[in-house]
């Protein structure tokens, strides 16, 4: 039978000065998941490997690890598929990123739990339950808005590969904001503003770099990134002012007034005169490199047929009121370019 190498991150802070990797050679069994491979290595070769697991069916969220650099549930992916995906004979198994490892693949969950506590991840009713003794009821579209966000199993895959968290551990992170969204967008919840204030503290919500790792990683299609954006939309609707909201406003104005973004005047409009002064070294540098279009300082030119844009944007604001945009249900199936299917692959 074909063999492969399982290269496992090992670290026991009570004994080891620093982490190291240990490699186990295993057969590629039919249907073998990465979690099953870890079990096989533990049972047959080295009983000291530590890893978390429980349901083995992608429901409990315990077994998230990094496989060849990307976080996923070890029980959800097969060894054979992973070897094909990375075109390799070696699977490197590491604990999820951004989080302190405790021993081998087991990481410190307290860090995540502390973040979760901040957003009060429980239902705070807006009003008394219905007098007829029935449950709190909800319009189907209102439920649809939180449907996917409710599926989160707190597995940490998104937190692991989040680029903003990589830069700054104080970012609440996709899992936590997504969980906050689940309550912020719940029509029955009574703590919307309080929750928004929490996620917008220091504009934390806007530290997200839109790298799309979280949505790409999530094994349950919770769409953390989309939930972050939906939270930002709600915050804007609720009248919260933030750098992101001002930024969006500038883009909207520029499209309305000229079509393209005026990058030259952006800093001043974003941060005021003082802010613009802070950007002066950058501006001067760009000028001397020939990257600056002087005309833009005086408004610049409009795109052709710009009259259409104003008409469309005015009308969109009017039509918008009656639109219920459905959430995307499948974010894992790769986009298919129709030109390719026309050519037969």
């Amino acid at each position: 039978m074909e063999k492969f190498k399982l290269k496992v991150f090992r670290y026991d802070p009570t004994k080891d000065d620093k982490p190291y990797y240990q490699t186990y050679e295993l057969p590629v069994e039919k249907g073998m998941t990465v979690l099953a491979a870890l079990f096989k290595a533990k049972e047959e070769q080295d009983s000291s490997i530590s890893f978390r697991y429980n349901c083995r069916a992608a429901i409990c969220g315990s077994c998230a690890v990094r496989i060849n650099g990307h976080a996923t549930l070890a029980c959800k992916v097969q060894v054979k598929h992973m070897l094909e995906k990375y075109n390799t004979d070696t699977l490197v198994i590491e604990p999820t990123g951004n989080i302190k490892p405790l021993k081998d693949l087991v990481y410190d969950m307290d860090w995540v739990i502390d973040k979760l506590k901040k957003i009060q991840p429980w239902f705070i009713p807006k009003e008394e339950p219905p007098a007829d003794g029935k449950e709190y009821r909800q319009d189907p579209y209102d439920h649809h808005k939180i449907d996917f966000a409710s599926d989160c199993i707190l597995c940490n895959s998104c937190m692991s590969d989040c680029n903003a968290l990589k830069a700054n551990k104080d970012f609440l992170g996709p899992m936590v904001i997504s969980k906050a969204y689940r309550f912020i967008a719940d029509s029955r919840d009574g703590a919307k503003r309080e929750r928004l204030e929490t996620v917008l503290k220091d504009f934390n919500l806007e530290w997200c770099v839109r790298c799309m790792e979280c949505t790409t990683r999530c094994p349950k299609e919770v769409q953390p990134y989309e939930n972050i954006i939906r939270t930002r939309i709600i915050a804007a609707e609720e009248g919260f002012k933030s750098p992101g909201e001002i930024h969006a406003e500038i883009f909207e104005q520029d499209i309305y007034n000229r079509g393209l973004l005026n990058e030259m005047l952006l800093p001043m409009r974003q941060e005021g005169l003082l802010g613009a002064a802070k950007r002066a070294p950058f501006g001067i540098r760009m000028f001397f490199k020939g990257k600056v279009n002087i005309a833009d300082f005086f408004g610049g030119h409009k795109v052709k047929r710009h009259d259409e844009v104003k008409k469309i944007m005015d009308k969109a604001k009017e039509v918008k009121k009656n639109i219920k945009i459905k959430l995307i249900s499948d974010v894992h199936t790769p986009y298919e370019d129709k030109r390719k299917s026309k050519q037969g692959g």
């Binding site: 770099v209 790298c211 760009m286 047929r305 710009h306 639109i323």
Partner: protein
Amino acid sequence: MALKYAFYTGCSAKGVAPELYDSTKLVAEKLGMELIELEAATCCGAGAVQEKDEFLSLTINARNLALAEELGLDMLTICNTCTLMLREAKFKLDNDPELKAAVNEVLKEAGLEYKGTIEVTHFLWEVIDAVGLDKIKSMVVRPLREFNIAPFYGCHIIRPPYLTGYEDPDNPSSIERLIEAIGGNPVDHDARLACCGFHSFWSAEDKVTLKLTAMDTQAAKKQQADFMVTPCPLCHTQLDAMQPEAEEKIGVNIGMPVLHLPQMIGLAIGLKPKELGLHKHVISTKAIIEKVA
């Protein structure tokens, strides 16, 4: 078959990255790609409008897509974020008939209609699939043999897969294959699939953005790359124009040049550094210019 596209420039190539616009036009012409510029197209919203008013951003991009449909041509972009925003609009409209009808009700105000008949594609993908690596290889007159080149994909050309789909977001190879085709040495480094931080600049410049910019450029430097290459002008602005700020932030001199994808191809197929705008970079490209001379 003649390669002809509706060319969506985006704001950056018309603003802070004029060298991307110029080098794209020059290289495309050499590679036999005819680009019909969409001069009536607007900004894609860049994710900013999208996080304030989703319906508005959809109508704006439905108009952009309709402009390409008028020409009956697929839309070619040169910015990762434009690619993603336009594809997102297309995906949502094509998969939701009610939404499409509502957007078309708006477009009718300007006598336009979104049909869903064209694809949105990126220069990188077309160079590989439509022009072909064999043709590129045959056109190389100055192989970039002595250069270690660090690919920087940029998030929005690989993730999320339901909108990108060109290659596996966890293990892409398009830029490496292109580098090999022009004779260069692709360098593996920790930040190849990482984020430049651009999109949180105004909210978290010090807390997030500049830290990522520093990590990315340092990762390339650690592997002794001569330069990084990216298919996205936003990544370029962040990694090149903002690199001095990132250096200041961490107190380390990095000095990693970053090239736009068409500039790199251009050097290999015999275009001059000056026409490709290599002098318009913030981080000096002098060492590269001297080597290719």
